[in-house]
Every structure is written in C-alpha cells, then in structure tokens.
C-alpha cells in the first residue's frame, strides 16, 4: 500500500526532467532565431562591455537628474572616509617623529667621579666603546660641559663665582639601534657597575610609553575605521534604497518587458561605486587640505626643537588605496540595498 505512491512518483519526476530539457531547448531555439533575424545582437565579451557601459551611462544620467542628492551623499561618504584617513596620517607622522627621536634616544649618561681627570675619562671611554651593544661613546669633559651650559643659559655671572667647575666628567654612551629596551637597560646596569661611575641615567622610559600610546592609538584607529566603513556602507545603502524606491515604477516596467535582475541591478551598483569613488577622492582632497593648513604650524613647532620636520601626506599609493576602499564600500553598500529591495519589486 505504502509503496504505491512511490512507484507513481518516479516516472513522473523523470518526465518533468525530460520536459525541462525540452523547454530549455525550445527557449534556446527561440533565442537563436531572434539572433538570426536581428543579426546585430552582440555576443560574449562585447555584450558584457556593452552592458556595463549601458549601466554606467544610466547611473550617470540618474546622478545628473538629482545633482544635489548625489553631491550630498558623496560629501557624507567623503567626510566619513577622511576621518580615519586623517587619523592614520597623524599617527604616521607622529611615528616618524618618534622614530627620529628614538635614533638618539637610547642614550646612557655615565657620570664619573668629579676628581677623575681627563686621562681616566679617556680610558673609561675606550673601555666602554669596546663593549658589545655600544654604538658610540662621547666623552664630555667638565670644561666642555660648562661651555655648553654657558651657551645655553644666562648663568655666566653665577658661574663666575665658583672656584672650580661644578660639573663632573660624563660619558654619553649610545646603544646599538638594534637593541630592545630590555637589553639597553641591562647594558646600562653593567656599565654602571664600574667603580669609576658614580651615577647612571637612562632616558628610555618615555620612549616605551610613547610606543605604548602609539599601539593604543593604532588599535583605536582600527575600531574607528571599521565603524566608519560600516557607516559608509549604511549611508550608501540607504541612498540606493531611496533611489530604488523612487524608481519603483520604472523598475516594474523594465521587468515587465523582460529586463532581468542583472539589467536592473547594474546601474544601482554603478551608482554605489560612483558615490564610493567620489567620496574617496573628496576624502583625499580633505586630508591634503588639512596637511596644507597644518604644514606651517608643524614646521614652527619642529623649529623650536631645533629639528626639520615636514608633515607627510597620503602619497599616491595610500591615496589610491583610499579610492579603492571607497569604491569597495560603495559597491558593498549598493549591494546590500539591491539584494534586499530589488527582488521585492515585481510587475503588477
């Protein structure tokens, strides 16, 4: 009893499959006859290019039809992209500055006994220079130090009152650049073990702190970047959704007379791409504008530290990456809208 429907079902399924084959054949045949009659229908890659040019033209026409709308969306996307770009650029510049400082930062100052003469200073310098991990040693005699102190300050009169030089002889040891902070600290400790050394000072903590801050900022940049990328997708998605809504009538008619989903979808994807690209370009321009307006103050700030410093911009590689990022986000945003709303529109 129970098997009877099964038996009945099998041949029927076969039949439908054969039918489907026949149908496909019929449809193909009808297409061929059309191509023969028209003799001008494009095929293969040419048709593909033609379709995309068509969609691009349609998207441009739509943008021209609603210029304010398009400009506003591009502006929002541009600002949303400019924020993380500017943040990244600031961080990049800060890292460059920190990098410059770090070159001379791992310096160990060894203060010798005040009674040590120039001879001892020289001997100590030679001994230190032979140690592993030492890139250079600069002996500073008390007189030289005093000269430097005089040049830098206005204590001439006060210094005249002193009978003898108040400053000790100093060895400024520069550590190898390849040493990590722990190794530098170890080196400093072992150098300080020498009985001739009275005091040691290592300027390193602030470099470590700076790096920790940089890492933190980088992490923050990623979160902000991800959030703003989402914002761009949502903004573009919403704009495309509104465009779809306002073109409901047109989409219905196009589907009515045989426009496939691809034909309907493509112009919207191009619209999203357009918003992404113009937004990316705008973001690039905004960061360059910001750099230009900050260049003067940054230069003056650097001058007070006695260094040369120019703010670096995005450069062509990062600029193109920004455009590419905008484009990808634009298409993604458009896709989210198209996937949700386009198939819901069916001709009545």
């Amino acid at each position: 009893m129970a098997r009877r429907p099964e038996r009945g079902a099998t041949p029927r399924r076969r039949q439908t499959r054969a039918e489907a084959r026949a149908q496909r054949k019929a449809l193909r045949a009808s297409r061929r006859s059309e191509a023969g009659a028209g003799a001008s229908l494009l095929a293969g890659p040419l048709l593909y290019l033609f379709r995309h040019r068509q969609a691009l033209t349609a998207a441009l026409q739509r943008a021209r039809g609603a210029p304010l709308h398009s400009v506003l969306t591009s502006a929002v996307v541009g600002i949303a992209l400019a924020l993380p770009a500017a943040f990244a650029l600031t961080l990049d510049n800060a890292e460059r500055v920190a990098g410059d400082w770090q070159d001379g930062a791992a310096q160990i100052s060894l203060f010798l006994d005040r009674d040590a003469g120039p001879q001892t200073l020289r001997e100590q310098a030679e001994a230190a220079a032979e140690r592993a991990g030492v890139a250079g040693v600069e002996p500073v005699t008390p007189d030289a130090a005093l000269e430097e102190f005089r040049a830098g300050t206005d204590f001439d009169a006060a210094l005249e009152l002193l009978d003898e030089t108040p400053l000790p002889p100093v060895l400024v040891v520069t550590a190898d650049r390849g040493l990590d902070p722990g190794a530098v600290a170890e080196l400093a400790e072992s150098l300080a073990d020498d009985p001739a050394v009275v005091r040691m000072r290592l300027d390193q903590e602030w470099v470590e702190r700076l790096h920790a801050i940089m890492t933190l900022a980088e992490r923050a940049l990623w979160s902000i970047g991800v959030l703003l990328a989402l914002a761009v997708i949502l903004v573009i998605g919403n704009t495309i959704r509104l465009t779809i809504e306002s073109r409901r009538h047109e989409i219905e008619i196009v589907k009515l007379i045989g426009g496939g989903n691809g034909f309907v979808r493509r112009p919207f994807l191009y619209e999203g791409l357009g918003y992404g690209l113009t937004g990316g370009l705008l973001a690039w321009m905004l960061t360059e504008l910001g750099r230009w307006s900050l260049a003067g103050p940054a230069h003056r700030l650097a001058a007070t530290y006695g260094t040369e410093f120019t703010l670096s911009g995005l450069g062509p590689t990062n600029g193109l990456l920004l455009l590419l990022g905008g484009a990808v986000l634009g298409v993604l945003g458009a896709w989210t809208a198209v996937a949700r709303h386009l198939s819901a529109i069916e001709p009545r």
């Binding site: 149908q23 229908l41 494009l42 068509q54 589907k255 009515l256 007379i257 496939g260 034909f263």
Partner: protein
C-alpha cells in the same frame, strides 16, 4: 504558439476564480480577440502568458515552453519574446517617446545605431515618427497607446498581447489601432487582444474567444470579411 491546457487561476485574496479550466490553442500568425464582461478573466488570461501571473492549475505553453514551470531567472527571456501593451500604457514619464520605445532593445543589448534604426521603424509603423522627442504626457491617449504598441513590437516578438487597447478611445481611433494590430499578423506575429468592444470585434471578423466568469464559453472561428 500558445496552448492552454485546463488552466485555472485562483486569487487567494479575492477568494474568487480568475480562470476555471480553460483549454485553448492559438496557432502562429493568428489574431484572436478575447472578450467578455469585466471580471470575466480576460486580463488574467493575458497575464498568464508572459508569466505576470502563475497558473494555479493546468499548463500554459508558449512556443514550446511551459510557462508555469519556468525558473525565475528565465522569466525575463520569456517576457522579451512576448510584447505586451496595457490599457494604462505603462510608459516612463521622464523619458522621451524615443527612449521609451528603445527600452526593450536596451534590455536585449542591441547596439545604439541599430536600435535607433529599429525604434524609428517602429515609430514610423504607428505613425508617430514626428513625436519621437516628445514626453509621453504631451501626447493624447491614442498616441500613448500607439507608443505602447511601438514598444511592444520593436523587438519583433513572436507573440503580441494587448489588454483593452481601445479602452478609452473614440471609434475612429479604435478602428485605426485594430488595423495596426492586424498588420502584424501578416509578418507572422501571433496577436491576442482583450477587448469588450463587441461591435468593433464583430466588424473585423477575427477569431473570438468569449469568457464568462472565468470559463471559456465561446470560440467563434474567423469569418471572411467582405
């Protein structure tokens, strides 16, 4: 060309039958009128052919293709092969007459120059070549109907459907439009026209199907017109 095999269409919302067990066959190159009171199922019958509706039962076969079983992504291909005109014209108000007629060619991917040639030929056929750059709303009802016809035939579809093409036109214009449809039969197009203009249908003498409450109650063969 078109076969209906015990086709029924039930509208679950309205709770009434659009069509009940309709079987018919229309060979290629024939002009057939579908007539009946409003609500008799004329529109439903037409809408089943380009799969604007799906039959609830039975089979609709167009050019050897079972329309009801057609997968979604193949529906556009079917609709490209079936030209349709509507009572409310369904034209795009923000495009010129030319662009409206060119739309089906845009969809099938006909190159611009060839498309322009075909659009002008279609507009010439319906006598609106001089209005190609007008907007649809600047045209009269009859002219809009003719733009719709031009759009329906510009792709040279083997099947042409018209839903009340003379719905709100004066008798002179109606006759003109019907003559236009007749002229497509001579190039092998199968034409199906839903209309309740019995007097005009009678005068033209083509095959006429009569529907009443979703059932096919009459199939009058063509009569030689003197």
């Amino acid at each position: 060309m078109i076969q209906f095999d015990r086709v029924s269409k039930r509208y679950p919302r309205a709770g009434q039958d659009g069509l009940r067990g309709v079987s018919l066959e229309i060979p290629q190159g024939e002009l057939v009128f579908v007539t009946g009171h409003s609500g008799a199922g004329k529109s439903t019958l037409l809408r089943l052919i380009p799969r604007l509706e799906r039959p609830s039962g039975g089979r609709v076969v167009v050019a050897g293709v079972d329309v009801g079983q057609l997968p979604r992504r193949r529906i556009p291909l079917l609709r490209q092969r079936v030209g349709v005109t509507f009572q409310d014209h369904r034209l795009l108000a923000d495009r010129s007459v030319f662009a409206n007629v060119a739309l089906p060619l845009e969809i099938t991917g006909v190159p611009r120059r060839e498309a322009a040639r075909r659009v002008r030929a279609a507009l010439d056929k319906v006598g609106l070549l001089h209005k190609e750059s007008s907007r649809p709303e600047a045209l009269s009802g009859g002219e809009q109907q003719r733009v719709g016809i031009a759009r329906a035939v510009v792709n040279r579809p083997p099947v042409l459907l018209a839903d009340e093409p003379t719905g709100n036109l004066d008798p002179g214009l109606s006759e003109e439009i019907m003559q236009l449809f007749s002229s497509f039969v001579s190039i092998g197009t199968t034409v199906l026209i839903a209309s309740h203009d019995l007097e005009l249908i009678e005068r033209l003498g083509h095959r006429t199907l009569t529907l009443r409450q979703g059932e096919l109650v009459g199939d009058r063969p063509p009569r030689e017109v003197a």
